[in-house]
């Protein structure tokens, strides 16, 4: 199949490559760029394990083509930690026991990264709706909500810039 050239910035790094038009964004990230933190759970955009942030919006990379990322900027879970400093969401998940098997965690973190960028002071209910496109089988969500609140508080206190 003929390949198409794309340029995409991932976690601040410019990549130029050629891809088949049918290549999914999640496979571009995981297999071409070896950023395996983004996971695949369903292929149908239900589970959210593949969530990444593209130009500030959380998207499900299992149902986006790599070519759709051409000229765009993507942040994955690997891009959250800056200069050895965990993002407040990462800290929140650690402190509040917001993860167990860890498989949905990158998607949960990236949904939160976009969400807390637009909602600085969310209610628990708003958080629950924000993560309703991210499935978790282990935690029962209670501690994920707490982890988001931990991060929101820390971001309000100036702990880190989005």
């Amino acid at each position: 199949m003929a390949k198409v050239p794309i340029r995409v910035k991932v976690n601040g790094v410019e990549h130029s490559t050629e891809v088949e038009p049918r290549l999914l964004l999640v496979h571009l990230l995981r297999e071409n760029f070896r950023l395996t933190g983004t996971h695949i759970g369903c292929d149908t955009s239900h589970c959210g394990a593949c969530t990444v942030v593209m130009d500030g919006r959380a998207i499900k990379s299992c149902t986006a083509f790599a070519v759709q990322a051409n000229g765009r900027e993507i942040t994955t879970v690997e891009g959250l930690e800056q200069n050895g400093q965990l993002h407040p969401l990462q800290e929140g998940f650690f402190q509040e026991h917001g993860l167990q098997c860890g498989y949905c965690t990158p998607g949960m973190l990236m949904t939160g990264y976009a969400f807390l960028g637009t909602n600085k002071n969310p209610s628990d209910d708003e958080i629950r709706h924000a993560i309703s496109g991210n499935l978790c089988r282990c935690t029962g969500y209670v501690n994920i909500v707490k982890a988001y609140q931990f991060a929101a508080q820390k971001l309000r206190d100036g702990g880190a810039q989005q």
């Binding site: 759970g41 394990a49 860890g102 965690t105 973190l109 496109g133 969500y141």
Partner: protein
């Protein structure tokens, strides 16, 4: 329980932050699909659109013409090596790939091997299979009718679809108690087929090194050691030898029982790697996972309870049809075809009970694995907790008072149940009392009366469950003859740091943290100085794996015993170093000291160094121990859950307003992790109670084959769980601990159903099968004239 150790040591009772989290929150976990090897090939699977059909032909020419497709493997290819069938853990047989017919929709039919996962998928599309459909049997009751087509024609002597009959208890006494009873109640309860749907699907990377003759398989398995032995037994005749098989369970994205069985995809990938000498990756997609991997439940139960008008129960009688699909590929201990279903007398002091189960074949994928429960315990608990409520309502007694009247009392432990289990410890009334206080039970009952007067539907449901976990004592528990022990191997390095390896495998339970805490508790090494490893059969001691809440009851016990062996040696070394008699030494976490002279002490780190540099003459150097723990009994965690629901009389929607869960799992290793397990377990109880079900139409088509219609609870449906605990240690476990990972999944559904039926009982509703969907309730409300 107040921790015995300091927070720096971090022994039992401390909510130590998890040691596995730093890699997971950075996206640095290593799950099976993250494993990439040079020259790796990809395997994808052609699946049957029919639930029952003869395969007339498989045309692979178009697939093989696609550049990058290297091979299409069929049942006939595997038949040459006698690998087209494999044994199941229940001594039945299962197809790896079919030679002549398929038995369920989505069954593996052929496998395409290609250089790339996209090309493999192209190959799957290009394989042409010609089928001749056969009559389909999806209903286990119809499967037993005399005119039903016999499904297992591969078994020459098989003349029907009945697999086995199993019964337990005293039939005569039970029947007599029913004849003598003042009150009896009877219900048909269907517990539907459901699927664990861990967010990571199943898969493997198989790598056969032709030069070394060694097979390494990275695979999503909860039981790597047992899998290694199964591979050696199944494929020994083609040259796989157990010392040259290495199974590696990397990080696993949730298991819940779904990653115990050996699926055909694993075997095909191994065969493909052995044939090509190249690494082969096979990763299911979600629909394959939902449609073809083993399922749980599917029990058609008829239950009866007998008792007196004053509310005292006397006897329980149960008959069940177990729909196993086309093969019995359950993962039960071999002596228990219906698992531990005979825990169905629950928390109640009964005079007698009798339970019968019949296994049946249908045109469905294999069923009968667990869904976050210990071998049919959920089916048992759901039945007794539903029936307890039916009986309480029938005689007009409050369900809480009814339970209090029938509970086994604390002074009766160890308690021999009517079905022969020896419950280790319990205080059932204590847990229920705490749950009632926490939720404000009396006030809720008053509110319910007021609301009912206004026509509003509100219900309160209780579930006071008793689990049975920690399989199991070698006398009764084995899988294919291998006893169900588990193991710990602990090595103390000269600088006082520890490497510990286990026969279990965490899938999110946090073993790297909790096992380290046990070592910290027993030996005083700071938890930060303990490295826990599991899941590599080349390095870890043999164990039966992690499922059925057995890691704490069995492997954690092995860990404690291994620690105590090390401590015995450490005491001798300390005595030598302190020039004292070992009987004159006292221990506090982290050091031995001479009785009455706390200054004359040797820390565990000093002792560790001495074990390699200055150990007593005649003593072996080193400081390590291994233990294979054979538990004397199972552990019996318990709890009381109370759920409050509001039902929308217009739409039938059930809203869980509050849910209080009081659990008792004995002594707790890490309270934070235990609470997390309860939260997750409750959510996996909520799902089947209200949303999750796998159904088939009459042609055997699966109706919930993707997340579009198999409804896993999201954060919006899930309530803010409220948890609390009591502590009744296990008398036989070295740490006084019990398993806990599945308690909530086992106990929660009955509390939710009991709450819904409690809201509707005055309308004449006695029972509703799970899942209690809005549509089901709406229909009932219309029948009862409540809704228009």
């Amino acid at each position: 329980m107040t921790p015995r150790t300091s927070p720096e040591i971090g022994g039992m009772g401390h909510s130590v932050k998890r040691k596995e989290d730093p890699r997971f929150i950075r996206g640095q976990g290593n799950y099976v699909d993250d494993v990439v090897l040079p020259d790796m090939l990809y395997l994808d699977i052609v699946r049957s659109p029919y639930a029952h059909a003869t395969i007339k032909s498989i045309d692979t020419a178009k697939a093989l013409a696609i550049p990058g497709v290297l091979a299409v493997i069929t049942g006939k290819d595997l038949e040459q090596y006698k690998l087209h069938w494999m044994p199941t853990l229940m001594s039945d047989t299962q197809m790896v790939l079919p030679v002549d017919k398929v038995m369920y929709q989505a069954q593996e039919v052929a496998a395409v091997l290609a250089t790339d996962r996209y090309i493999a998928a192209d190959g799957v599309d290009a394989v042409e299979v010609d089928y001749d459909p056969l009559p389909v049997v999806v209903d286990p009751k119809k499967a037993l009718l005399p005119d039903a087509p016999v499904l297992r024609t591969d078994k020459p002597d098989k003349k029907d679809n009945h697999i086995w009959h199993w019964e337990w208890g005293n039939r005569e006494t039970t029947d007599q108690l029913f004849r003598d009873a003042e009150v009896t109640v009877k219900e048909d309860i269907y517990i539907p087929r459901i699927h664990v749907s861990s967010i990571e699907t199943c898969g493997c990377v198989a790598h056969f090194d032709k030069v070394k003759g060694k097979l390494t398989v990275w695979m999503t398995t909860q039981a790597p050691h047992a899998i290694r032995t199964v591979f050696a037994l199944v494929a020994g005749h083609v040259g796989l030898s157990e010392e040259k098989i290495q199974i590696i369970s990397p990080d696993i994205g949730g298991g819940f029982g779904g990653k115990v069985p050996v699926y055909p995809g694993y075997v095909i990938a191994v065969a493909a790697s052995v044939l090509t000498g190249k690494p082969v990756k096979w990763i299911e997609d979600r629909m394959e996972n939902l449609q073809a991997d083993s399922f749980a439940r599917d029990y058609h139960i008829t239950a009866e309870l007998a008792g007196n008008k004053d509310g005292k129960l006397t006897a329980l009688r149960i008959k069940t049809l177990a729909d196993h699909g086309y093969t019995d590929a359950a993962a039960n201990p071999s002596k228990f075809p219906a698992g531990l279903f005979h825990i169905c007398t629950g928390s109640y002091d009964l005079k007698a009970a009798h339970v019968e189960v019949d296994g049946v074949y249908t045109n469905k994928p294999p069923g009968g694995i667990a869904y976050r429960c210990s071998f049919r315990v959920t089916e048992a608990v759901h039945t007794i907790e539903r029936m307890a409520d039916v009986m309480a309502h029938q005689i007009g007694m409050d369900p809480a008072e009814f339970r209090m009247k029938n509970f086994i009392k604390p002074e009766q432990f160890p308690y021999k149940s009517a079905l022969d289990w020896e419950y280790d410890s319990g205080n059932y009334a204590g847990a229920l009392k705490l749950a009632m206080d926490r939720i404000g039970y009396d006030a809720l009952r008053k509110e319910q009366i007021e609301k009912r007067a206004r026509g509003e539907l509100m219900g309160i449901g209780i579930s006071s469950f008793t689990e049975i976990v920690g399989a199991g004592p070698s006398k009764h528990f084995d899988i294919l003859g291998i006893k169900m022990f588990d193991s710990a191997e602990i090595r103390v390095h000269p600088t006082g740091k520890v490497l510990a390896r286990f026969g279990t495998k965490s899938q999110g339970q946090g073993h790297e943290t909790t096992y380290a805490q046990i070592i910290a508790e027993e030996l005083g090494f700071p938890v930060d100085n303990v490295l826990v490893e599991e899941g590599d059969t080349d390095t870890a001691p043999y164990g039966l794996g992690t499922y059925a809440s057995r890691s704490t009851p069995v492997a954690a016990a092995a860990c404690a015993v291994a620690c105590r062996k090390i401590k015995d040696k450490a005491r001798k070394i300390a005595a030598y170093l302190l020039e004292a008699h070992e009987d004159d030494l006292d221990w506090e976490p982290g050091k031995f000291f001479v009785k009455g002279s706390p200054d004359r002490a040797k820390t565990i780190q000093e002792i560790s160094l001495a074990a390699y540099t200055n150990h007593p003459p005649g003593m072996e150097a080193g400081l390590e121990a291994i233990n294979y723990y054979d538990p004397p009994n199972l552990t019996y965690p318990f709890g009381s859950y109370i759920c409050v629901v509001d039902i929308d009389s217009g739409t039938g929607e059930v809203k869980v307003r509050r849910f209080v869960a009081v659990d008792d799992c004995g002594n707790i290793i890490n309270p934070m992790i235990v609470e997390g397990q309860i939260h997750g377990g409750l959510t996996m109880g909520l799902g089947p109670a209200l949303y999750e079900e796998i159904q088939y139409d009459d042609s055997g088509n699966i109706l919930q084959g993707s997340f579009m219609n198999y409804l896993v609870p999201t954060a919006v449906e899930t309530p803010n769980w409220e948890t609390d605990k009591t502590c009744t240690p296990s008398p036989h476990h070295p740490l006084g601990a019990k398993g806990v990972g599945e308690s909530a999944t086992v106990g929660a559904p009955a509390a939710i159903v009991n709450a819904v039926v409690d809201a509707l009982w005055h309308l004449g509703v006695r029972h509703i099968d799970i899942p209690i969907t809005s549509a089901k309730v709406w229909k009932l409300l219309r029948e009862k004239g409540v809704s228009e």
